[in-house]
Symmetry: C2
Subunit: 224 residues, 2 copies
Amino acid sequence: MNSSISNMSKFTGSTSEFIAQTLRIAIFKGKYKANQPLRQDRIAKELNVSKIPLREALVQLKSEGLVVFLPNRGAVVSMLSPAEVREIFSMRLALESLAVEKAVPNIREAELIRARSVLKIIDREKDKSTWSDLNREFHEILYKPSNMRLLLNTIQTLHNNVGRYLVIYLDRLSGTEASREEHWGILDAYKEKNIDKAQSILKTHLGKAEEHLMRFLGEFSEVD
Amino acid sequence: MNSSISNMSKFTGSTSEFIAQTLRIAIFKGKYKANQPLRQDRIAKELNVSKIPLREALVQLKSEGLVVFLPNRGAVVSMLSPAEVREIFSMRLALESLAVEKAVPNIREAELIRARSVLKIIDREKDKSTWSDLNREFHEILYKPSNMRLLLNTIQTLHNNVGRYLVIYLDRLSGTEASREEHWGILDAYKEKNIDKAQSILKTHLGKAEEHLMRFLGEFSEVD
DNA sequence: GATTATACTATTGTTGAAAATCATAATAAT
DNA sequence: ATTATTATGATTTTCAACAATAGTATAATC
């Protein structure tokens, strides 16, 4: 995925999509933090765009859960409550289990090989930011054979919604060793076409990620 | 739920929400059919609004799957492919099962009573349009105790996305008798706090609805 | 000190118009 | 007659300047 985009010219697609993607990345990178207002004229000037596509982008981000509109006070980066974090992980488990169920029977050798090569890179990778990207890619490879565009979209959105915190607390992310084992385990399960096994490992995988994030958010709110 | 709204004055909330809700209902009622373009200046004049909130509303509807944007050709009412219908029902089953799981332990006597009274009205109801509303209300009552705002939102969106066809083919909807039995069965399962039973009935319930819609869409596309 | 008045800031929404793109009709070429 | 090319018109997409409104902070008044 293309990280940062400086100007519109390199971007194919509408202006509002360009803005949405730019803001999405800015939120991920922590440029805009939770509860921070997104000032329209400032952003419009910064990106050299007008209000119409900008507001369209903000509505789009609202629908993705990254932004909340306060009436007459504009858009602010949303802050997930602990309950919402749990909610999102529950939904992810339900939907990603479905993706696994539908994808396992369809997966091909080529995709398994690609997944394995991604895992091998992950094992060596030190930089947590690209580690996060590779992590996403791994799961994408395994879900795509479900051939369910809408499902993949929704999973991606939910993943983004909790994943944006990753960048902030990624430095002290320690549990990556266990995470690695789980990745290999899921890949094994795919090779064996064992849906139950893949789903079961996915469950512990997501469960750990959830607990990590919950603990982090706990500290975070105490400090603040 | 408030059916049609003639003008903005009666509406609390932003203009774009008003437009979105108006268009949503118009799509449900079949005023705008699948693949039909949504002309901006026409709608803007019709509703006495300007472009900014109108486009915001269209982006919102896009995020709900009711509308698709064709580059430089504007928004058209989306047409679900058979594969997408199956996809949505799969997602609904996964998410509504989750809602059941989380709601059953929390449901109270008062809500069970309300659900039962809704079912009794449904049993007598002849008008299919209000039948559809009551049907939605019944499921809402049973899901709400999950206390998962985001989940309920997503379920609602998915329901809308297939439910809009209901209005068109509701007249010849025959399988309502079986549907009634399933409703009472789900309610029973809730009373017994039997999650598995509730989920199992839900599965056949959604499965039948899916087959109905698939068959209808089959005929529909042949005629066209 | 609490309350009201006032100025300021930002959103929200309107209006009008320019630029870009697509579909279609009209025209020219093979 | 069929294909290519070129206008034409319609519509989206975006911009820009402005009005109205609500929220916030500051100053004035009781």
